[in-house]
Symmetry: C2
Subunit: 397 residues, 2 copies
């Protein structure tokens, strides 16, 4: 593992001098062995030796360190270093990158989140509680005018944040330009009346020129957030957008499951999100407790904690809780995270609330009031109708 990704190959070759190894070799800092197992985690591994005993597959947590000089301060080349050809080596029957720690020099090369938690809060005008949000659904097919009508309902319901689904970016039936015009008219009108401007994350995912132009359209219309599907765009494109960007970037991680769902392969979000925080993500999806996906609550909370943990002296991003969220997960989320610096994005929990969307938004605010004041939802619901209705409607789903 160390040799393949630094100075070595499997055989010593001309030019691989002692001094080259000393200067460029990766070091094995620690190996913590786990119980061996009788079957390989994934196919394709080579059996090193044949013995009469049953084959055992050894497992371990391995800590490696690499000379910074080997790659320089480059996130794409860092990715190749820590998550490149290794996964295909037949010396392993499984390999997962669980964490990564970077030297402070990276802070000189990558400016990181431009807005982060503070900047997002200021633009949304929400302090001392989570930012309550929702996603436009149906995810595809609504015209710009239908989208704007839905935004009007949600804005009047007092919501803080709305986002495009990741499946809509700039399709011909609702181009980004048309959608921005229609939606921002509603949001700006509402802001004129109430003083509260809803933050809308317009999905500008696309090729670079499209993203830059999309960003400018959103900015010019008075929008306060853009969204990007980070895996689809990639690190270089995202970094480029960040340097041009004047708005918070909402980082959507769709596709992460492709290299994370197998416990024996790929990369944890603990490691992965560090790349994107350095590259400039202000808001990062972390899934949610009791979500509709396959991720455990422990993993969700670990990801969210990591977003809130400074690295290189800063670079915190706002974790975005989403997927199957309603009032019910607020106490557990708060207890596990010990913070209200998060975005809490609910779909059905708002739109399907028996009292309507405004009641849905209120039920979420009430749930977080209960959570942060240490009361149970049931107690707090006795004097808060919308929360009571939410519990009756959603707690058995």
């Amino acid at each position: 593992m160390a040799g393949e990704q630094s100075s070595g190959t499997f055989v010593t070759i001309p030019g691989e001098s002692e001094s080259l190894r000393e200067r460029h070799a990766a070091k094995v800092e620690r190996i913590t062995e786990f119980e061996p197992v009788g079957i390989p985690s994934l196919p394709g591994s080579r059996r090193i030796e044949q013995t009469a005993d049953p084959v055992k597959y050894r497992r371990a947590e391995v800590v490696l360190s690499f000379p910074l000089e080997n790659i320089g301060l480059s996130l794409p080349n860092l990715m190749t270093l820590v998550a490149g050809n290794l996964y295909e080596l037949n010396q392993f029957s499984g390999l997962r990158l669980t964490d990564i720690q970077l030297p402070s020099a990276f802070a000189n090369a990558y400016p990181g989140p431009q807005f982060g938690i503070e900047g997002t809060r200021k633009l949304a005008g929400v302090f001392n509680r989570p930012i309550i949000g929702t996603i436009i659904k149906p995810s595809v097919g609504l015209s710009p005018e239908e989208t704007a009508a839905l935004v009007k309902t949600l804005a009047e319901a007092g919501i803080d944040f709305i986002k495009d689904d990741e499946l809509i970016a700039n399709p011909p039936y609702s181009t980004l330009d048309q959608r921005v015009t229609a939606v921002m008219r509603v949001i700006n009108d509402c802001a004129d009346k109430t003083g509260k401007k809803v933050m809308y994350a317009f999905n500008i995912t696309g090729d670079i020129d499209d993203m830059l132009r999309g960003h400018d359209v959103v900015l010019k219309a008075g929008g306060t957030c853009v969204m990007v599907s980070i895996l689809s765009v990639g690190l270089a494109g995202f970094t480029y957008l960040r340097r041009h960007c004047q708005l918070p970037i909402h980082a959507h991680r769709n596709g992460w499951g492709a290299f994370a769902r197998s416990p024996w392969l790929g990369m944890s979000y603990i490691a992965y999100q560090k790349f994107w925080r350095l590259a400039g993500a202000d808001q990062m999806h972390v899934n949610g407790l009791r979500n509709k996906f396959c991720e455990s609550d422990e993993s969700v909370i670990a990801s969210a904690r990591e977003c809130l943990t400074p690295m290189l002296g800063g670079y915190t991003a706002m974790p975005v809780f989403s997927s199957g969220q309603w009032a019910g997960q607020a106490p557990d989320t708060f207890q596990a995270l010990d913070s209200v610096d998060l975005m809490y994005v609910a779909g059905g929990g708002i739109m399907a609330h028996p009292g309507g969307p405004a009641a849905g938004v209120n039920s979420l605010k009430q749930a977080w009031e209960a959570a942060t004041s240490g009361q149970t939802l049931e107690n707090y619901a006795q004097n808060h109708l919308e929360l009571q209705q939410a519990i009756e409607r959603f707690s058995h789903l």
Copy 2:
């Protein structure tokens, strides 16, 4: 699967009208069921129903079609559509994208390979046989001058193609500028003497500005190829580079194993390489027969065939065979592929040849002469010393 990635959610919601569904829903074209299994492929799946019988996990190949209108002509948004949140859904215990077919309209949006097979051959000056190449090793640590000295040896040995390792791009000990200067001096000198200019794939992987500048440095110095680690850079950055680029792009797929090694997760290279051909890859890594990685020979050949199979009326890329290659795999490679339109990249097969690098290069040319003329290596080796030496040295490894 179809609903989540198009018009539907798990419950019918306001706005999801019949006409919206008709226009935007994905269609299930075909389901081919396989044998059910008793254990889930990956953890995290939800058991739909409890019965007295043992739980069975149903498996199938599913063919879906999506309205083009849903995303428009955008590769990043296509990626989100076909390889997004799906992987995390707990309705599945595994999910793999095996192929994708695109409507011809994509040809209007993405120019594809600028050089492809013909353009690569012209620049390398190699026709009617594979382009024979090698990788600079040790992968890291050589100074620009040491690299240039190695290139001199290889150029004098008559090699067609040399590439940087993916682990070296623009590090402080061998910056791209320094390396290009040192290496191209040797290559241009050699070309002046012999008329043959070795194609060198300089690894320009990095942030966008670095890649564009790196490309310009290579072009100005008379270089004829640039290399990019496609997963580390991402689709948007790669597409942007392509539009700026005046040289063939050598696409390195390091990291692909992270979402491909598990047979039950991620994406086949059959599907994946189509994105990059559209985006403009001229040369694409496909691993090699009897490689040092975990991929089967069948998978390698399927990938290579796909690179050579036109899509949307063109967009063929030159498959790059690499990893553990020497003369020995030439006959099987030719027989399986029925083409010499490939790059055949050997490390030890050239540098560790008992007769030296020139003999190593010759042994590979001879092996392909044998393969294409239908002779066995052993027969052909009777009159070809370098091939004979290669067989003696490498056939038992």
